[in-house]
Each structure stands twice: as C-alpha cells, then as structure tokens.
Symmetry: C2
C-alpha cells in the first residue's frame, strides 16, 4: 500500500505535535506501507511571515511573497524528517524543487501542471518515508509559487494521484466531516462516508474541513480521501464517489426521508441530507428593474468574473412591466470590489436599475444528493425555519443543496433548526 | 561597476535594519552600479533553528539540518527584495538552487565547486538588484548544503570572483579592521588597508571580522574586499594584495618601526604592525622526551589531522639526551578529541613520553608583513610584556606574526601592552 498523509498547521504546531505526527507515520511505515507525508507550515507561521512582509512592503511583489512563505513548509518537512529518523525510520524531506511540483506562474494562486516524481519514487524504492512541503510549487522559470490557501490539501491529493496512492489521508484538527459544526450543533454526528459532490458543496458553503480545489482534484483523479484527526485516533470520514443510489431510491420511493436508526456511525445508506452548514462570508446583491435582461446580466457577470468575484445563488424574477429583478450573493470580503463593478455598471447608462446591497446576511445550506428530487426535504427545511421564527431572505436550490439567506444574527438558530428537522428526527 | 555587498545577521536583524540595508543598496544602484547582495539569516535565526532541531533529534541527519537552516537566508533575501521594491528599485531574490551555487556533498561544511551564473547575469542585465542567500549551496544530487560558519562571506567572495565584480564589500557590525579589538583597547585605530596574508593571520588568530576561508578565496581570485559597517557610514578597511614593499623597505632600512604620524586613517605605508589580537580558544599541548622525533611527530599529527584538529604554533626543542620536546596549540573546544588522540598514542607504546595539557592559556599575536625580518618588533613586544609583568609561556614567530602564549587572565593586559608599544608609540 502507498499512503499519502497530509497534516495541517495545527497538527505540526510545535515540537510535541511533530513528534506525535512522526509516531503516526512511523506506525504506518512499520506495517510495511510506503508513506508519503505532506506538511503545512507550523501553526501560524504563514501568517507571521505575511505580517513581516506587510510591514516591510504592503505591496510586495508576489514572487517574493511566495519566496518568503515557502520557507514555512520547508522548516516543517526538515523537522519531521529529523523526528522520524529519531524513531529509527529512514526519511527524506523535499521542497517543491526536489519533489518536482511544476505549476503555472500565478504566484500566490498557482495551479499544478505536472509533477516529476523521479526523486520521490527513488526514495520510496529505498524504503524511505518521503516528506514533501505542501502548498508550494515551482514555475518553469525555476521560481517558487504557492497554491493559495488550502494548498497543502491540493499538494497531497495531486501527489496521491500521480504516485497512484491507495488512499490520501487528510489529518486535521477535527476527526471527520460532521452533519453540522459540532461546536455550534452539539447533536451533529460524524459521517462515515460522503461523496465528492456533497463534500464540494459543504466546502464551498463554509464547512471548512477540506478545500474545494483538493476535493475537485480528488474527484477528477478518483483519489480516495479520508478526513481524520491527528489529535485522536478515530475513524474519520471517507470521501469517495460511491453513491448508494439504490438505497437512496428506496427511501425516496417511500416518499419520506428516513433518518438514521442509530446516529452513531451514520452512513449515507441511511441518510439523504449529509450536512447543514453556514457561510457568513456572504453579501446579497439585488438589481431591480433590468430591461434587456440577457444582455445586462452578461455585462454584469463578465465584469464580476474579470475581478475574480464569484457570484453564487443567482436568482432571476420577472416583473409585470417586462423588467427583471436579479439577486445573487458574493463573498462579503469582496464587497468593495463588487460595489465598484456595480457603480461602473450604473454609470455606463443603466442608471435606472436600482442596486441594493445587504451585508448582514448568512447563507445556510442543507447538502445532500438528490435534494431537489425530494420535495419533502425543502418542505421540512422551511417548516424548521418557520417554527424557529426565522425570516428567509432568499432561497436557492440545486440538485445537491438548498440554500437560504437569513439575517446574520439568525445563523446559529437556523443551523440548529434545520439540523434538528432534517438530520436528528425522522420526517413525517 | 559591479559590486557585491554582503550583510551579516546583525545587519538584517529586524525590519528597521532590513529597510536601512535596502537604503544602502538603493543608493549604490542609483549611481548606476550593478549590485549583488548576499545576506545571512536574520539575527540569531540560525541558532533558533538549530535549537529546534536539537530538541527534536540531537543526532539529526546533516542533510535535514541543512534543509532546515537554509530557510533562514531565504527569508532574509525575500524580505530584502520586498524592501528594495518598496523604494522603487527592481530586485529579485535567489536561493542556492536559483543562484546555481553547486558544492560538495559535505552537509554543514560544503565547499563551492562551481557557480552557474546564468540567472544572476540575466537579472543584472535587466538592471535588477540580485539578492542571493548566503551560506547555502546545492549538491549535484539537488540537496541543500551549507558552507559552515562564516559561509555567507564565502558566498559573497565566490560570487564576486565568478561575476568578476570590481569589489566585494563585507558589511558587518564593526566599521573595519582595527589594530586591536576597540572594546578591549580604546587606543586601537582602524586600518585603511591590510593585505590578504595579514588578514588571514588576524582572522585565524581570533580577530573575528572576516572568516579565513573567504579571505583565502579572495586572495586566490584577487577579489578586493572592503570591510565596513552597515550601521554607520565610514570608509572601512580595504583587504587586497597591494603590499607597499617600497615604503616598508624604507622603514626597515631605518632600522626602526615608524609609527603613524597621525593615527586617524592609518595606512600600511606608515605602519608595519597591522594589529594585535588574542585567541582564547586555545590549549597548549606539551610532549616531553620524544625519541624518534620525525616518526613520532608524524604519527601524532596524522592522527590529529584525521580528527580535523588543527595544530598551530608548533615548536620543537631538542634535549641533551637526544630526545625532543614538542609543544603546540589546539583549539580549546577540541581538547577532548585531542586528549583522546594523545591517550591512544601513549597506549600504542610511547608511554615514556610525558604529556602535559594546559587549557588556561591564550594566544596573543602581533600581525604584520615582515615581522621576522625586523628584530626590533620582537624586542619591543617582549619588552612590552616584561614591563607589564606578564609571563610568556611560549613564543612562535613567522614572517607574518609573532605569537606568545600567556596565562588566560593576562590576555587583556598583554594586548594593551603590545598595542601600546608596537602601534601607539614610536619605537626607540
């Protein structure tokens, strides 16, 4: 077996954590498995370095930022190699030059293009544990790049894909994917399995366990992911494409959503709704009275896309006077840029369009396969919100999720209500 | 003009220092010069990293130690590039892979073998300031190596040699080479010039301004060095091979050592003794009653050399019974290994040799060109020590220096006395 194990910053935050992680890897190695370890920078090191850069030059060249940040992972991998060697396990650390991780030249947000696995395979053949600096790559020019936040997950999945690993384990500070954030919803339960698609919705909607990009990559290359804790020895959640269509259909035929008999160790066989999640990094944009809808929408969304602003949950509603209202959400931290785009749009002759921006909102979503096919879910969700006296500002539904916009202060109440109705108790 | 500027750890210890150094480099650049900057790790960063490694694995593989340490300089160069860019000066940072600094595989103490200057020359042609991580190299296998302590000086001199720089400026926390340590001898004066050979003696004898290896390299490739302060704008000391034979001869013909008319800005034209220095990292070994001198000495020194213990100031004195006494010094921090070598030597059948080890001694030296040719210098030096009531344990003299061993507690008194006689006041 070849296993890729990825550990995030909190898992290697200090000496004790590094030695603990070395123990986990040594145990795997001693089973006879080949082990590739991908590490993030220790604790908050990346933020510390960014602050240093900011103090010296608030507009530092991105090439130099990446040159600076890549030291973080290099420290982690060197110390981990030392920790493994101290346990008698042969190990070798590689930074991006040595691991041959070639990317585009987009400093700060590079994409992996190819991986030259020669040195890694040579070291694995020598029965060494290979420790690779996550988050970093090199451009064809031989400059460091970084993959953006969540980049170490991407490194791990990419290595698992090219090295044809049997599994890619993502160790984090939670022990798996839950039906809701357990800090917010004590009744939340851990999922044994979840599909790539559901995981993608949960990630993009703010669950924060895995970065979207790594899940997309895993899906594309069929890399089996396991999310588990480096702090405790628990089973974790498997992310794969094994949808249990048959059982789901069975439940749907009953016309009701059957909740889990026993919540402990719940799997997808028993539950349709995988999780409830909230994203407070959201703002709602409303454009009222648009005349030539298609043309105008094109103009707006092209401009947003040029600024790399991702619009989500787009809704259109026609008015009786042949105009259309458009509503969508943007990440709240991109609201400034969004407002600039919209102001420009107004000035360019569409001044009769009324623009409304709301930033005290949150997106609360229920995620699961075949949500729209089962009207009972939507009904139950709205019932939950109604009973909790929460005003729904907007509804967006797709095959994989139902999202409602609520006032920000209602976020927690909404999550708990929806979780209670859709996951904890059986529907009528 | 192409100028290599090297700044040590204290010169880039924090944000303020980095911005200050960027100012020095920007000024040079704005004159139209091409500038290559070589940096050490910030402040005590290397020691901090070594402590981290030690805590995780006291016997960490040297490859991984170098992998860890090289992050220190990478942080410095990235931040410096940002600092220069913030002043509108185009800059680019390179680590050893990018600067093409290939070394032997001796982790922790590698030797530079060749430098692939392509990327540096390309950047210089684009009128960029090139900022190179000092102290580090790469092996032909593509692993990081480090050049040992003082390695950043070596990097700077090597780059100056291969890039055919007009001058290599070593910025440090003192403003030049002094006739003695100004903290110990307030009367010490800064030298305008000094030869490579004199500098080598001063460096190896503990003056500590420049590392020996970098001076040797500079001598071999004719790289003109200037030692100056990054903290104050003063002229510094030039290290080169321009010995002023004619003037020196003139002085020698007078039969006396003429001290400087004005001590401010003293040059070699006026002074024969360049400096007085002390090295407390010394221990004295005496072997008494050796019979077959040549054979036995060979045995001892081969063994010491195998342990990389540098014996210095070797003296032999024949006894009337056809035996010989040998005396030499070793670095005190290698005394343990030295004692092991000598014990082994005793056991192997030379047990009638009496071994004496003294570790409370210091080597005090006066350095200058043609010391032995001028008996007045030795006479004056011994007079100084006599007047100061200091016991001389051993004397060693070469063309470039006269070294006396004194009791450790007499070190400062000896330096001051010799400095007073040889440098401050004219000899009779």
């Amino acid at each position: 077996m070849l296993i890729v194990k990825k550990f995030g910053g909190t898992s290697v935050a200090d000496k004790e954590r590094i030695l603990h992680v070395a123990g986990i890897c040594a145990e795997e190695y001693s089973k006879g498995d080949d082990v590739v370890v991908v590490l993030s920078a220790m604790g908050k090191q990346t933020d510390v370095l960014l602050t240093q850069a900011e103090e010296i030059n608030p507009n530092a060249p991105k090439r130099e930022i990446d040159m600076l940040l890549t030291t973080g992972e290099q420290i982690s991998v060197a110390l981990m190699a030392m920790a493994l060697e101290s346990r008698g396990v042969p190990a070798i650390s590689f930074h991006a030059f040595q691991a041959g991780i070639y990317t585009t030249r987009a400093y700060g947000n590079a994409r992996i293009q190819r991986i030259d696995t020669a040195r890694m395979e040579e070291a694995l053949a020598q029965r060494k544990v290979v420790i690779v600096a996550g988050f970093q790559g090199i451009s064809e020019e031989g400059d460091y790049t970084t993959l953006g936040r969540g980049g170490s997950d991407t490194t791990a999945v990419a290595l698992a894909a090219v090295l044809k690993a049997d599994v890619c384990e993502i160790f984090t500070d939670v022990d798996g994917v839950y039906t809701a954030d357990p800090r917010l919803v004590p009744e939340a339960v851990k999922l044994k399995e979840i599909t790539y698609d559901e995981m993608l919705e949960l990630a993009s909607l703010g669950a924060g366990v895995l970065h979207n990009r790594s899940v997309e990559l895993a899906k594309r290359f069929g890399v089996e992911l396991i999310v588990k804790s480096s702090f405790q020895n628990a089973e974790g959640t498997r992310v794969c494409d094994r949808t249990r269509k048959k059982e789901t259909t069975h439940i749907l035929e009953d016309g009701i959503l059957k909740a889990a008999q026993s919540l402990e160790g719940t799997t997808m066989e028993e539950m349709l709704v995988s999780g409830v999640t909230a994203d407070k990094n959201a703002a709602r944009i409303q454009l009222k009275g648009i005349k030539e809808t298609t043309k105008e929408m094109y103009k707006i969304f092209v401009k947003l896309s040029e600024q790399h602003i991702g619009a989500d949950s787009v809704l259109m509603s026609p008015n009786s006077d042949n105009t259309t209202d458009i509503s969508f959400t943007v990440p709240r931290d991109r609201l400034k840029e969004t407002a600039e785009v919209l102001n420009l749009y107004s000035k360019e002759g569409s001044s009769d369009v009324e623009i409304k921006i709301e930033d005290k909102i949150a997106k609360v979503s229920a995620v699961g396969a075949g949500m729209m096919s089962n009207p009972a879910i939507a009904v139950s969700m709205f019932e939950a919100l109604y009973e909790a006296d929460i005003t729904i500002e907007m509804i967006y539904a797709s095959e994989l999720r139902i999202t409602v916009l609520v006032n920000e202060e209602d976020t927690l109440k909404a999550i708990r209500a929806i979780h209670g109705h859709l996951i904890e108790r059986p529907l009528r």
